[in-house]
C-alpha cells in the first residue's frame, strides 16, 4: 500500500482504483480536505486535536514542573501565575499534570481504538469475504458482544482483571471491536463483487491476498470515520473507568483519576477537578468534531444532503 506520487496523473477513473495516490482507500482525499476546510466546526476540531497531540508529544517541554514533584508548602494553592491551574493536595502543579495526563488519557484512547479497529476490521473483512458458516459464527458472536451494555461489560472485565490503565484499555477495545467487524464485513460484501476483485480471483490470487490488497484498502473510509468518533468515546470511557478506580492508579497523572482525587476538594478548591475534567471534555469534543466532519463527507448515506 505505497503512496505513488505519479499515481495522481495515471490513476484511472473510479470506481475505486486500488492504491492510486489521490483516491487512495476509495476516497478522493483532495475533495475531502477541501470540504473539511470549509466547515468552521471541523476546523475547530482539527485545531483542538492538533493542540492535544502537541501537548502530548511536547509534554516535557511545555509542562513547567515535574508532574509528580511534591511541594507541601503550596498544597491546594489557587490558580496563579506560578501555578496556572493551581496545585493538588500534595502541592503538585495541576497544569503540568494535565499536560502530562494527556499521555495517559489520550494515548489510552488511541491505543484502544487502534486495537479494536485493527482486529475488528480484519475479522470483518475476512468474515464478509469468505461468507458461509465462518461468517455466520463470527457474526453471532458479535451479536452477543453487541447485546451487552458496553460500559457495564468493560467495567466487569476491568474489575476482574484488576485495576490498572492497561486493564482498562483491553476491555474497552474488546467491547468496541464488533462495531468494526460489522462495518468491515458490510464493506467486504459489497466489494467482493467488484470487477478488480473478480479479476484478482481469476488470476489465482489467494483469499488472503485479495482481502489484504483489495478489500481492506478500499473499505477504509467508513472505518476511519468510526475510528475518529471512537477516539473521543474511548478517552471518555478510559477516564470514566479511572474515575471509578478501575483505570490509572496513583501517582500516574491521568485525567479521570485526577477528577476522582479532586472530588473530595471541589467545594472549596473548585480548580482541582475542574481543569482535568475540562481537558477530557475539550479533547473529546475535538475528536468528535473531526469525526463528524469526516462522516458528513465520507458517509455515502449523508452525501449530498
Amino acid at each position: 500500500m505505497s503512496v505513488t506520487q505519479s499515481g495522481e496523473s495515471v490513476a484511472p477513473a473510479p470506481p475505486n482504483p486500488p492504491g492510486s495516490g489521490a483516491a487512495r482507500w476509495g476516497v478522493d482525499w483532495r475533495h475531502v480536505w477541501y470540504r473539511l476546510a470549509s466547515s468552521p466546526l471541523t476546523v475547530a476540531g482539527f485545531v483542538i486535536v492538533a493542540l492535544v497531540i502537541a501537548a502530548m508529544t511536547l509534554a516535557p517541554a511545555i509542562a513547567p514542573y515535574d508532574p509528580n514533584r511534591l511541594s507541601l508548602a503550596v498544597r491546594l494553592a489557587a490558580p496563579s501565575w506560578h501555578h496556572v491551574f493551581g496545585t493538588d493536595e500534595v502541592g503538585r502543579d495541576l497544569f503540568s499534570r494535565v499536560i502530562w495526563g494527556s499521555r495517559a488519557s489520550v494515548v489510552a484512547g488511541l491505543v484502544t481504538v487502534a486495537i479494536s479497529m485493527s482486529i475488528g476490521t480484519c475479522i470483518g473483512a475476512v468474515s464478509g469475504f469468505l461468507s458461509g458458516w465462518v461468517d455466520t459464527v463470527i457474526m453471532r458472536i458479535m451479536d452477543v458482544l453487541l447485546a451487552f451494555p458496553s460500559f457495564i461489560l468493560a467495567m466487569a472485565l476491568a474489575a476482574a482483571l484488576g485495576p490498572s490503565l492497561m486493564n482498562a484499555i483491553l476491555p474497552i477495545a474488546i467491547v468496541r471491536t464488533p462495531f468494526y467487524v460489522r462495518l468491515a464485513r458490510g464493506q467486504a460484501l459489497t466489494l467482493r463483487d467488484r470487477a478488480y476483485v473478480r479479476a484478482a480471483e481469476t488470476f489465482g490470487s489467494s483469499s488472503w491476498h485479495i482481502v489484504w490488497r483489495h478489500i481492506l484498502p478500499n473499505s477504509m473510509a467508513p472505518i476511519i470515520v468510526q475510528a475518529t468518533l471512537d477516539i473521543g468515546l474511548a478517552i471518555l470511557t478510559v477516564s470514566a473507568l479511572s474515575f471509578i478506580g478501575l483505570g490509572a492508579q496513583q501517582p500516574t497523572a491521568e485525567w479521570g483519576a485526577m477528577v476522582a482525587n479532586g472530588r473530595a476538594y471541589f467545594l472549596d478548591q473548585w480548580w482541582y477537578p475542574m481543569f482535568p475534567g475540562l481537558a477530557i471534555l475539550v479533547t473529546a469534543i475535538g475528536f468528535n468534531l473531526v469525526g463528524d466532519g469526516l462522516r458528513e463527507i465520507l458517509d455515502p448515506r449523508l452525501r449530498g444532503r
Binding site: L41, L153, M155, A156, F243, L289
Partner: protein, 338 residues
C-alpha cells in the same frame, strides 16, 4: 419472510444472546485474580480448610459442570452473597433498583422532552442558527464526562447558589413515602404528600439533568438526521405541492415517520443510561444500583459487581427485544409483510 418468521428469528437470537451473556459473565467471574476459596476461608486458614472451601464452592469440578451449577444457582435467583454488605446480592439489587429506575426515567423524560422539539427544529431550519446551537449542544453532550458535569452542577447549584439540595433522595427529616412503586416522586404524589414530593423533586433535579444532558445529544442527533431524511422524501414534496401548511407537513407527516426509526434508539439508550447512572449516582450519593456497584468496586466485592453486570445486561437484552418487537408492530412496512 413472514412476520412470524421474523419474530421467531428475533426470539432465537435473544435466547442465543442471553446464553452468551451468561457465558461471558461466568468466564469473567473466573478471570478474577486470586483464589476465591482462599479469599472466603480467610488469610490464615489451613490448606485443609481451603480445600474444603474449594469443594463447597464447587471449584474442584470441571468447568462445564461449574457452569451448570452457575446456571442452576441463577435459576433460583441466587447471585451469591455480597462481601461488603454480607447480604444476598439479589436482595441488595432489589433494594437499590427503584432509585435507579426513577432517576433513569426522569432523565429520559427530560432528554426526550428537550431533544425532540430541538431535533425537529434543527432539521426544519437546517444550517440556521438553531441548527448550529443544536449541533454544538449535541457534540458537547456526547463528549461530556458525566461525573465531571455532576460535580460542576453540584458546586454551582448547591454550593454557590444554594437553591438545590446536595445529595441523597430526600431532605433530612423527611420520611420516605409509603412504598408503592419505590419511586419517591411517584409514591409521594400518589400518597398526596406535598412536602415529600417537593423534596423528592428538588433532589432528583440535578442528577436527572446530568444523566439527561448526556443522552440529550444522542436524541437530538438521531431526530435531526431522521427528520432531514424524511423531509427529502417524495411524499413530503407532494404534500408541499398540494399546499399543506408547514406545521401539518412537519408534525402530521414527517415527524411520525421520523419517529419510527428513532424508537429502536430508545432500547440502546438504556445502555447509556446505565453507564451514566453508574457515574452520576456516585457523585450525588443517589442510593441506586450504580452507587452500589461503585462502592462494591472499592471493596473488590466481586459477587456484587458480577451480579450487577448480569442483571443489567439481561435487562438490557430484554428491553431491546421489547423495543424491537414494538418496532415491528409500529412499522407498517414490516407489519404488512405478515
Amino acid at each position: 419472510m413472514s412476520l412470524l418468521q421474523i419474530l421467531c428469528r428475533r426470539l432465537m437470537l435473544s435466547i442465543l444472546v442471553v446464553f452468551g451473556v451468561l457465558v461471558v459473565t461466568f468466564i469473567t467471574s473466573r478471570l478474577i485474580p486470586g483464589d476465591p476459596a482462599r479469599l472466603m476461608a480467610g488469610e490464615h486458614a489451613s490448606q485443609e480448610t481451603v480445600r474444603h472451601m474449594r469443594h463447597v464452592l464447587g471449584l474442584d469440578e470441571p468447568l462445564p459442570r461449574q457452569f451448570a451449577g452457575y446456571l442452576a444457582r441463577l435459576a433460583r435467583g441466587d447471585l451469591g452473597v455480597s462481601i461488603r454488605t454480607e447480604r444476598p446480592v439479589i436482595e441488595d439489587l432489589r433494594r437499590f433498583f427503584p432509585a435507579t429506575i426513577e432517576l433513569s426515567i426522569v432523565a429520559l423524560l427530560f432528554a426526550v422532552a428537550a431533544g425532540l422539539p430541538l431535533g425537529v427544529a434543527a432539521a426544519v431550519y437546517r444550517d440556521g442558527w438553531i441548527d448550529q446551537v443544536v449541533r454544538t449542544v449535541s457534540v458537547a453532550g456526547i463528549s461530556m464526562p458525566a461525573f465531571w458535569l455532576a460535580l460542576l452542577l453540584l458546586d454551582f447549584f448547591y454550593n454557590w447558589l444554594g437553591i438545590l439540595p446536595g445529595t441523597g433522595r430526600l431532605d433530612e427529616g423527611v420520611a420516605a413515602p409509603p412504598f408503592i412503586t419505590g419511586m419517591f416522586t411517584v409514591d409521594a404524589l400518589l400518597a398526596g404528600q406535598g412536602r415529600t414530593m417537593y423534596s423528592a423533586v428538588t433532589h432528583i433535579a440535578l442528577p436527572a439533568f446530568t444523566l439527561g444532558f448526556v443522552n440529550l445529544g444522542i436524541i437530538m442527533r438521531q431526530i435531526r438526521s431522521a427528520m432531514i431524511e424524511v423531509l427529502q422524501e417524495d411524499y413530503i414534496r407532494t404534500a408541499r405541492a398540494g399546499g399543506l401548511s408547514a406545521a401539518r407537513i412537519v408534525f402530521g407527516h414527517a415527524l411520525r415517520n421520523a419517529l419510527i426509526p428513532s424508537v429502536t434508539m430508545l432500547g440502546l439508550l438504556f445502555g447509556d443510561l446505565l453507564y451514566g447512572a453508574v457515574l452520576t449516582e456516585t457523585i450525588f450519593a443517589w442510593p441506586g444500583m450504580g452507587n452500589y456497584v461503585i462502592q462494591s468496586i472499592g471493596f473488590l466485592d466481586f459477587p456484587s459487581i458480577m451480579g450487577f453486570a448480569l442483571v443489567a445486561s439481561l435487562a438490557y437484552v430484554l428491553l431491546n427485544l421489547a423495543v424491537d418487537l414494538s418496532y415491528m408492530m409500529l412499522d407498517p412496512q414490516i407489519r404488512e409483510i405478515g
